[in-house]
Structures are given as C-alpha cells and as structure tokens.
Amino acid sequence: MATAEEIAEAYADWQERCNANTRLARMLRGWERTVHLVATDTGEGFTIAVSASVLSDLRSGLVDQPDLVVSATSEDFADLFWGDLNPSEKYLSGEIVLAGSSEDVMRLDAMSMVAFLDQ
C-alpha cells in the first residue's frame, strides 16, 4: 500500500517527465481534461488537470467534474507514475478500471508510454 506522499512523489517525477517531453506536448495539444484518480485500497482521491499541454500538480481530493476516472490500488498508482508497470497490461487484466471515452483513455495511455519509452 502506497501513501499519499509516495503517490505524490511518483507523480511529481512523472509530471516533470511529461511536461519536458516535446512530443507529448504535441500529442496533448487541444486536450483539456480533468482526471480523477481513485485509490481503491485506501479510498483516497486525487485530481490532475491537463491544460495547454501541461500537467498540473496533483491535487488531493476529487475536484471538479472529471472527464476521466482511473481506479487502481495506491501501489499501482505509484508504480505507474514511476514507470514500473505497464498500464495497458493492468487494464486488460482488470486491475486498473477506467471510466471515460476511449479517446481520453488513449491519450492517458499515450502519456505513460511516451513519457517512459521515448517512442
């Protein structure tokens, strides 16, 4: 089980990678979304906003109306942001649950892939 601080630390690393990636900036052009993260084991919620191709800081709690909701264990969130797990694999196995349009899901997956695989 990962704490909120661990998740925040992992997210800060991911945020930095994403915001520094010029290719990802092009991919996120025009994609303004609010994403809720729900840790199924701790019950904690977090909010991320993407605006002008930039990822916001992680906010505690479920703020605003979301475009996408991602539910997973706190440990999986931390691993995901550190780039230690393949979100597609977890999604196909049902360990990561999503609510949102397929287009938004694709963008989110693209973020995790491009940020770590330097595709």
Partner: protein, 475 residues
C-alpha cells in the same frame, strides 16, 4: 469513492448507446444480406426467418448482457474469454473475430463504390477508384483523430433506418399487389434452405454487441444492456420490412446486384429514390468506418501494448492515434474489396457467408463463456444473469454452432465450402501466430523490461514505511 461514469462531464446517454448498437449492425452489407436471404425462403415470408434470427439474437443479448455486466470495460472480450478458456485459444478466436471488422469495412467500401458507379453510369473499373478514395478518406480522418460525435452518430443512424423503412413501405404499397405467401416460409423451398436463411438472418443483427466496448463511457451501466435490446427490436422491424419489400417488388436479377437497395428506392420514388438510397448507403459507411476503424485499431493497439502483437502496432502519431493499425486496416480492406470486385458474381455473397458464420461462432463462444464462468467464478458480481443458464447456454452453444457451420458452407442458395475454407485459413493463421509468435514476443518484452535500469521508485524502509515525503500534494 469513485465518481464512476455517471459523474463524467461527457457521458454517453441511452439514445447514443442505442444508435451506436444499431448503427454498427446496420452496415451497407445488410442490404445485400437481406436480398440474399430472399433466395432461401418463399419471398414474402422472409420476415419469419428474420424473426427467428431475432429471437436467437435475444439469446446472444442475454449472453453478452451477463458478460458485459461482469466486465464493464472495452477490454471485456479479452477478460471473459481468457477467464473461460486457455489464453492462447482466446487470443486465436479474438483475432479471427476481429477479421469480421475488416470484412465489413471492405464490403461497405465496395458496396458504396458500386452504388456510386451505378448511379453515375460510369465504367465499372472506377469502382476501385471510389473504394480507394473512400478508404483513404477514412484512414486520413482516423489518423487525424477525427471521430463522429455522438449526436452525429445518432442523426446518421436515424436517417439510415428511417429512410430504409419509409422506402420499403412505400415500395410495398406502390407495388399494387398483396403479399403472396407471408406465412409460408417453406413454399417451394426446403427445410435446409429455411435453416440457411436463419443463419443469414443472424448476420442482419451482427455487431449489435460491439456497443459493449463503450461500457466505460455510458452514464448508467444498464444503458448498454438496454441499448442492445432496443437495437435488436429496431433491427427486426427495419430488416423484416426491407426484406419483405425486396422480395415483393424486386426481380431476381435486381436481388443479385451489389446494390439492391437502389432498385428498392427506384420502385418507391423512381430516379429520385435511386439517388436517395445511394446517399443513404453512403451514410451507412460513416458508422461502419467510424466504428470499425476505431474498434479494430484500438484493440490491436491494446494487444500490442500487452505484448501479444509486435510493438510497432502500438506506435502512436502526434494525435495519439495508433497509425500502423489504422493504415493496415485501410490497406487490407482495400485489397479485400478489390478481390471481391475482381471475383465478381458471388464475391460479396462469400463475404456475407463468412461474416454470418463468424458472428454465429462468436455467439456460440459467448454462450460457452457464460456457462464456464458460472462454474469458475460463481461469486463474481453479475448485474444481469441469464435465467436457466444450463439449458439456455447449452442450447445457445449448440444452435449457434450449427448455424455457423450451415452459414459457412452455403453461398447464395447452393453448397459452397469457400467461406468455410476462408474461416479455417484465418483461424489456422491466428492459432499459428498465437502458438508460434506470441511466446517469442512476450519473452522479448519480458527481456526488455528486465534489461531496464533499476526501478525508479526509491527503495522502501525495511519496516515497510513510506520513504520520506517529498513535494507534496496540493490540498
């Protein structure tokens, strides 16, 4: 704690779920399947075969309803199939099933092009040019991330269904004669022919279950279940009316063309009706191309990300679109449609037979999965449960298996093993790929991950406590 899809800013309502389910099923190929169905039964009573097929589609609705309720995700097919059978078998079946999308896209491109050639009175070779143009537009739109908005899909589906219904009713009423044998499906036809017509009738409902891939974006999870049921009802009314009209007012020569719907339009409204139905046919392609390209390319992408397909298929362009699967789907569809055109005659009837057999096969697989998962995960949450599951699922498994076999050895109204051979070749290729290639891909992916630098995640303290907190969460 989860806000779920209900709280989403953009959630899909029941109306769009219904139009998605109906629109995916009602492709241009449906006009040809309806005309082909008439060849098996006694003209005006073709609606009975469609009704029986509709009842069987309700069985499939029950199976997909239970499975979608258990796994309300776009990846449901992977979840329930790998849960019910060996993963290699599941992958082989899934790849084979996916090929129906290629067939439907190819067939629609060909049918729209053939209709265009017919109404413009231009040389037949231009059909391939229209096909290339249509598929190029579809590929380019997909690569640019363009997709039909929900409201546009609602409008397109409503226009196609309403237009088909109106044209059919007007053509029937203007025929000036009453129905000859509306209640005698075996008049001048055999029982085997009736069975074949039911197999073909199943195809008229095919793909209504693809709406389950939208499970993550509906406002209420029950919408998917309800939408499929409503779609089956709508499809029955439209297809039964259209088939009855076709059998009543069209000649055998007209029924044998790749554009019987144009002749139907002509019988209803003259030349205007021909052009009108040509336009309606083009609109059907919007749903097929939109749904087909997105469903197939995203599935291929997810499977490649999982490590079961080559990594190149997971490459994204700057609009986060998996460009290799999109281009691949366009190229394969074009090749198939050209082959259909070159073969001529029964080429498109073979496509219909392959599609009908594969659809019956996947319904049989769904019945098997329902039954198997009841035994393997009896306590899994099931918002909808198939009643009398042993009887219904085993019955469904047998019926759909028989229909799959019947559909695969019949083209037109004669015995022809070509569809079966095509399916066996596709199935064998999928199985060979899954057994011989996938393990290598997965091993390479595992090796690639193992070779990566150590985990970026800082090591935990021995007592399992978190590492010292860092830049914090903004409250």
């Amino acid at each position: 704690m989860s806000t779920g899809a209900a709280g989403l800013r953009r959630a899909m309502g029941l109306r769009t779920a219904v139009s998605t389910s109906t629109g995916l099923a009602f492709a241009a190929l449906q006009y040809l399947a309806a005309a082909g169905l008439v060849a098996y039964v006694a003209g005006d009573s073709a609606w009975i075969s469609i009704g029986v097929a509709g009842v069987l589609a309700l069985l499939a609705w029950g199976f997909f309803g239970e499975l979608n309720g258990m796994f309300p995700t776009a990846a449901a097919i992977r979840r329930y199939m790998s849960g019910a059978m060996d993963d290699r078998v599941a992958l082989s079946i899934t790849f084979t099933y996916l090929s129906t999308i290629v067939l439907v896209v190819a067939a629609d491109a060909f049918i729209v092009s053939a209709a265009l050639t017919h109404v413009l009175h231009v040389p037949g070779w231009l059909t391939s040019v229209w096909t290339l143009a249509l598929l190029s537009i579809a590929v380019l739109s997909n690569l640019r991330g363009v997709r039909a908005a929900g409201w546009l899909q609602d409008v397109a589906t409503t226009v196609v269904l309403a237009a088909t219904l109106v044209v059919s009713v007007v053509a029937l009423t203007r025929s000036g004669t009453g129905l000859h044998t509306p209640l005698q499906p075996l008049h001048h036809h055999s029982g085997a022919g009736f069975l074949e017509s039911i197999a073909l009738g199943i195809f008229l409902y095919s793909a209504f279950e693809w709406v389950t891939t939208n499970a993550e974006e509906v406002r209420d999870p029950k919408h998917i279940h309800r939408a499929m049921l409503i779609a089956v009802g709508i499809l029955f009314v439209v297809c039964a009316t259209m088939t009855t009209a076709m059998s009543h007012v069209l000649t055998h020569a007209q029924l044998g063309t790749p554009y019987p719907q144009l002749a139907l339009g002509g019988r209803a409204f003259g030349t205007v009706g021909v052009w009108f139905m040509a336009a309606v046919t083009a609109v059907t392609a919007l749903n097929t191309f939109n749904g087909g390209f997105i469903t197939a390319s995203r599935f291929v992408y997810a499977t490649a990300r999982e490590g079961s397909l080559p990594p190149i298929l997971a490459r994204l362009n700057d609009r986060a679109v998996p460009w290799v699967p999109v281009i691949g789907l366009g190229v394969v569809s074009f090749v198939v449609s050209v082959v259909v055109e070159v073969v001529g005659g029964s080429g498109w009837q073979v496509l219909v037979a392959v599609g009908a057999a594969l659809e019956a096969l996947i319904y049989a697989v769904a019945a098997f999965c329902v039954l198997r998962l009841r035994g393997r995960v009896p306590d899994h949450h099931r918002p909808f449960r198939v009643p009398l599951v042993r009887v219904v699922a085993i019955g469904g498994l047998v019926i759909f298996s028989v229909l799959a076999v019947v559909a695969s050895v019949s083209v037109g109204n004669r015995f022809d093993p070509v569809p079966l051979i095509i399916i066996l070749v596709m199935g064998a290729a999928s199985a060979l790929y899954t057994v011989r290639v996938v393990p290598g891909l997965q091993a390479a992916e595992a090796a690639r991950r193992a070779a990566r630098p150590t985990r970026r995640r800082p090591p935990r303290a021995p007592d399992g406590d978190a590492t010292p907190p860092s830049p914090g969460v903004v409250s």
